[in-house]
């Protein structure tokens, strides 16, 4: 019956008022020139690396020590505060305004956390140690009850629970009809917090490292951030220096990292006219998320499978060409972290425009959390604007910022992969040969990423 209704709706005359502004200006930009330039700079990086002395290529990842680390013991306190804040937000989600752009829960989860805090984690450093809502309450629980983990975490599970939970999170983000609905999100967020606490109760903090997808994601991105610990020192270095310091990752984490990129890429792809034409849907009268749930889930899984396969094949080919005596598995685990800067670049590029608009709504909701007309922050009459999507100059600046994030992500990834190859194979020649297919893959991926930004979209 529902299907029939949907077909009837699709056949009926109606109107669609898809909006012209931002994307209209993007289509007028010489994006083909920009894309060529972006792809060329990534390709040039590959060529330069082939000629660069090994010591220099590895040297760029040497960090600079800043100062001696002072002990910062407050992380349990701040984590507990984060949990209290989350509880407050969940209460707001259940009883505050119903409008997702007036309720702080969806705005904090999807804008402040998922966009801003994830990017900060990847660019600056590991704040999740202080901002996660679990370690503090877990420590408190242990102290109060003296309870220890009931079971040992089964080693053979590895990162599998984390991968499964991350894919479930991606399904909520991309396929669920209303991930920003305050009450719905309150149930998801509250339920997940509780389930994770239960996981910690069962398996101890190891659950956070193996099963809690958001912590795995945050810790992964922290590997490419500028700041970090180096022995007893605080240090800063080119993104990736922490990966060079500890290169190999477990297989499950390597797959997880690839899924981060695959999911991020599909998140852009599923909005393009191209994807709509694959689904046979007119993007100008998109029937809504609820009409494409299955297609989105299948697309998400297919995109990730395709990426993992393409990446694995590139590495395998490289090993063959360089006649390396490294097996595919260890090589995969060695090179996978070099994908992280790309995934982070995509994350920033994809969400930049949402961040610009929804952060204003977040501010507005923060000043009036119960939608009673309060003005706690003293903003006065505050109107959300999207005027920056309406002029050519601002749209160009936004687009180039997005493209810059994608290109820089790829350049760093190629540098990093090359340095890792030098570390594994010794000579520049063998490293370059082993990296040739992967470099080609990354150049192609740069093109894909920039094409995504330049493509007309239906959402």
């Amino acid at each position: 019956m529902r299907r029939i209704l949907l077909i009837v709706i699709l056949l009926l005359p109606g109107m669609a008022l898809a909006h012209a502004s931002e994307q209209g200006f993007v289509l007028l930009l010489p994006t083909d020139v920009y894309i060529t330039a972006g792809v060329a700079s990534v390709a040039l990086t590959v060529i330069l690396l082939a000629m660069m002395p090994a010591r220099l290529a590895q040297g760029v990842f040497h960090p600079v020590s800043l100062w001696r680390r002072a002990p910062m013991p407050l992380h349990h306190v701040t984590s507990t505060l984060a949990a209290v804040l989350l509880a407050g937000l969940i209460w707001l989600g259940l009883s505050g305004p119903r409008d997702p752009l007036a309720n702080l829960l969806p705005l904090v989860v999807w804008t402040v956390w998922w966009i801003a805090l994830v990017v900060l984690q990847g660019v600056i450093g590991n704040h999740w140690r202080w901002t996660n809502p679990w370690t503090g309450p877990a420590a408190l629980l242990t102290r109060l009850t003296g309870l220890r983990a009931l079971f040992r975490y089964p080693r053979r599970l590895g990162f599998l629970p984390g991968i499964v939970i991350f894919l479930a999170f991606a399904v909520l983000l991309l396929a669920d009809p209303a991930p920003a609905d305050p009450a719905r999100l309150a149930l998801f967020a509250g339920g997940y917090w509780y389930a994770t606490m239960f996981g910690i109760l069962l398996f101890g903090p190891r659950w956070l490292l193996r099963g809690e997808a958001l912590t795995i994601l945050m810790r992964s991105y922290a590997r490419v951030s500028l700041l970090g610990r180096r022995g007893r020192q605080f240090a800063i270095g080119l993104p990736g220096w922490k990966i060079m310091a500890r290169p190999h990752v477990p297989m499950g984490l390597a797959v997880f990292i690839l899924i981060l990129l695959g999911t991020g890429s599909f998140d852009g792809l599923n909005e393009t006219f191209w994807w709509f034409s694959v689904l046979g849907i007119n993007p100008l009268e998109f029937p809504g998320r609820s009409a494409v749930i299955t297609q989105t889930i299948l697309g998400l899984l297919a995109a990730n499978a395709a990426l993992i396969t393409a990446y694995g094949v590139s590495i395998w080919l490289g090993l063959r060409i360089a006649r390396a005596d490294l097996d595919l598995g260890p090589a995969f685990r060695l090179f996978a972290p070099s994908i992280l800067p790309i995934a982070l670049g995509y994350h920033l590029a994809h969400y930049l425009t949402s961040l610009m608009v929804d952060s204003q709504y977040a501010l507005k909701a923060a000043t009036d959390p119960l939608a009673r007309g309060d003005d706690l922050l003293g903003l006065g009459q505050f109107y959300v604007t999207t005027g920056f999507f309406n002029t050519q100059a601002t749209v160009r600046a936004i687009w180039l910022t997005q493209a810059g994030a994608v290109v820089i992500g790829h350049v760093i990834a190629i540098l990093l992969a090359h340095a890792l190859a030098l570390h594994a194979f010794g000579s520049t020649r063998r490293a370059t040969l082993s990296q040739a297919p992967l470099a080609l893959f990354m150049v192609a991926y740069t093109f894909f990423g920039l094409w995504l930004l330049a493509s007309p979209r239906g959402l």
């Binding site: 502004s21 007028l28 998109f286 609820s290 009409a291 005027g387 007309p456």
Partner: protein
């Protein structure tokens, strides 16, 4: 004794009066029977393809409710908006309507714009007997496909808009028309309604050029425009609109035919944007003139200020943030119709929903006023659709200058349904 009683009574009354005077404005109007707010469920496109419109529909709604509440609310009760995001998704839309009726205890539902969401939600509103006031512009209300609980009293429908353009186009721009439109329902409405209307004016459509919705370059379609075309009628929508205009300019150069379009193509886009110079001297339908006109009414002035829109139709806080001015007045006017309807029906609660619908059905003339800043309207209680003046503007110096106001008669067409014959 009697005296003292009456004195006590008098003192009481005075005390009550003093008390009332010290209460905030709204409380003075509070109905003794009930002080619960009137809850209006606002089905808003916060996410999905309608989000850009949703933002301005939200802002207009907020301003209208503020005004209504400052004026004492409805029947002495404050109005509370319960906004729910429908994701511009018909299935979700029906769920939202259900929440309004069953979960939030809303008195009415209101505000839906996109046709497919209206069409997906309206049956549920009918089942739940929730009066459902849409602001959609679609012809689906007047066509008879919906139900007695669905009304469109605050914005005219596309059929009347399109047909009202034909007399002006035929008389002033030309009788030989070529239509360029996107090849789906929205474009087909324009094709069908305008072709019939221009023929009724003694004109003809030389060529219908249907463009696939995913097209992003248009040069290959332009050679199909017949040489003898006097007027090019265009209603492109979507991200490629600016490209369409640019390529059209490159194709015609300085010697173009007259051009007539619907502002839907460029709603919320600054007409003086680079690349749109080619539109100078062309004509547009506007539901409500975006630029403040020389003969601007006091009501438009008041409405603009209340919503926070400047004389160019942009936000007062950011001159580049152009509003969806041609459509969003519909929210303002619909809320005022709900208020008038509830007051006429003596509405007290959900038990009076049928009375409310009958009260709105009984409406006909709606004079231009603060409640109807877009202009006077006539409501057709049988078809549940309002009819009103349409505006034609010419682009002059990057501004939309009104050159014609249609009569309401130009917009009328024979009834296609009589909802009043349906039972509640």
């Amino acid at each position: 004794m009697t005296k003292s009683t009456s004195r006590r009574a008098a003192l009481k009354t005075i005390a009550a009066g003093v008390g009332a005077a010290s209460l905030p404005m709204w409380a003075r109007y509070t109905n003794a029977a009930t002080s619960e707010p009137i809850k209006i469920g606002f089905q808003v496109h916060r996410t999905g393809i309608g989000a850009a419109y949703g933002r301005w529909y939200g802002r207009t709604t907020e301003a209208a409710v503020k005004l209504i509440n400052e004026g004492g609310g409805i029947n002495g009760r404050m109005v509370e908006i319960v906004a729910e995001d429908d994701g511009t998704d018909p299935k979700r839309g029906a769920e939202v309507v259900e929440k309004f009726a069953n979960q939030h205890g809303c008195d009415v539902g209101f505000g839906t714009l996109f046709s497919h969401v209206v069409i997906g939600s309206s049956p549920r509103a009918g089942e739940l007997k929730l009066p459902y006031f849409v602001v959609s512009e679609g012809h689906h209300v007047a066509s008879g496909m919906l139900n007695r609980y669905t009304l469109q009293p605050g914005i005219t429908d596309v059929k009347s808009q399109v047909q009202a353009m034909a007399p002006y186009v035929a008389e002033n721009l030309g009788k030989k028309v070529t239509m360029v439109f996107p090849d789906f329902a929205f474009g087909h409405d324009h094709r069908d309604f305008f072709t019939a209307a221009i023929e009724a004016q003694g004109g003809e459509v030389l060529e219908h050029i249907a463009i696939p919705p995913t097209e992003t370059s248009f040069t290959k379609y332009f050679p199909k425009i017949p040489r003898e075309t006097e007027v090019l009628y265009h209603v492109m929508v979507g991200p490629a609109v600016l490209t369409f205009v640019k390529e059209l300019g490159e194709f015609f150069g300085p010697s173009r035919p007259e051009m007539f379009g619907f502002i839907d193509s460029l709603e919320a886009v600054d007409i003086s944007s680079p690349g749109l110079e080619f539109l100078e001297g062309t004509y547009f339908w506007e539901g409500n003139p975006r630029n403040a006109q020389a003969d601007q009414s006091e009501h438009d002035k008041f409405y603009r200020a209340a919503v926070g829109v400047d004389d160019n139709g942009a936000s007062i806080s950011d001159p580049t943030d152009v509003s969806t001015y041609a459509h969003m007045f519909g929210c303002w006017e619909t809320l005022h119709v709900i208020k008038a309807g509830m007051e006429a029906a003596g509405y007290e609660g959900p038990g009076d929903r049928a009375k409310l619908i009958e009260a709105v059905e009984a409406m006909s003339d709606m004079p231009e006023s603060q409640a109807h800043p877009q202009g006077a309207k006539v409501f057709n209680g049988k078809t549940h659709q309002v009819f009103g003046h349409q505006y034609i503007s010419r682009v002059e110096g990057g501004k939309l200058v009104k050159v014609h106001t249609t009569s309401i008669e130009d917009t009328l067409y024979p009834d296609e349904v009589d909802y009043t014959t349906q039972s509640f």
